[in-house]
Subunit: 199 residues, 2 copies
């Protein structure tokens, strides 16, 4: 009974995370209340995000330029590298502005149960970058889960031969929670409490 | 820090009801995980829904044809007319399949506080239709709110001169709740318990 074009739009909304049938219907119908200009921008943005989003050649963060804004910014501290599991962590850290160093974005975390091996998360690019530039410290900022701990320990091990301090952000973030949903104070505390993995 | 094209998409998602900053960000980033084909369909559907959705010339329900599927269906009971406040009510009633008559969709409910007068909700088209076709009963199916009650009483009054039974769906639906979110049993009960407004 729902017109076919609206049904199709409902199916599109249902592809998004956390959107079930009811919510997808509500969102699809709400499109009828928007202005023509708003619809055009929405429609074009979807294509634009798909076509023009790439990974920064230096840090692997998603960006709409060849190099991201942080890697292009000469005023950032070049002695510290914060390694994160995805681009969203970078955006969140930048939003709360408690860190002024460089970032490196992995393609996720090591997870043998899901078939994700060290080779799958871009570690060789990380090691290459650390060997090339003289960072004095590498901060590992993963979520405190089995996968986060495994990845941190693995990176600590492959960096053992280099003269570089390896730290990880402190606990304070509950096990299993996503960094994305933490409050700024918890993240600031965790950055402040980072502990030396070699010590 | 978030790339401009993704920021723009976040703003588009924020136009939708119930979508705040955090959810909009999550939805926008999730677009990067979809297939090219899925993005194209999503993008085109938005434009298609905007451009090709119109109101049925008979019942005013939104449709992608000149006349909606119900008005084009000769097998429906032509003696009963169910008047609803929006197209979503029609889709919901059809989904739970407890009614086999005709519908008429108003442009909302009378709400003097919001400046919505009887003239604004398309009542003349409703009266015209009732006068032209020989319905034996008109069922008023609005949400049980001040606006719903006002609209029901107003319609009852303007139909007083005609030889037609005017009923409204029974209580059972809590005051202030939207018909859209009711469970099928409550709606079926309310349809079954409809009471004669002239009696």
């Amino acid at each position: 009974m729902i017109p076919d074009n609206i049904k199709k739009l409902i199916e599109s909304f249902k592809l998004l995370p956390g959107i079930g049938e009811k919510t997808a219907e509500r969102l699809a119908f709400s499109i009828l209340d928007l202005e023509k200009e708003q619809i055009s921008i929405f429609s074009e943005s979807l294509i634009d995000v798909y076509n023009n989003t790439r990974h920064c050649e230096i840090c692997n963060c998603i960006t709409d330029k060849d190099n991201c804004k942080i890697c292009s910014n000469n005023l950032r501290d070049e002695s510290v590298l914060c390694v994160v599991e995805d681009s969203k962590s970078v955006f969140l850290f930048e939003k709360i502005a408690v860190y002024n160093g460089r970032y490196h974005v992995l393609d996720g975390l090591i997870s043998p149960l899901d078939g994700i091996d060290p080779d799958d998360i871009g570690l060789s690019k990380l090691v290459e970058r650390i060997e090339k530039y003289k960072f004095s410290e590498v901060i590992l900022a993963f979520k405190p889960s089995i996968e986060g701990e495994t990845t941190a320990l693995y990176i600590k091990k492959i960096l053992e031969g280099l003269d570089i301090k390896v730290t990880k952000i402190a606990s304070g973030i509950p096990m299993g929670a996503d960094i994305e949903y933490m409050d700024p104070l918890t993240i600031e505390r965790a950055l402040f409490d980072r502990k030396d993995m070699k010590g």
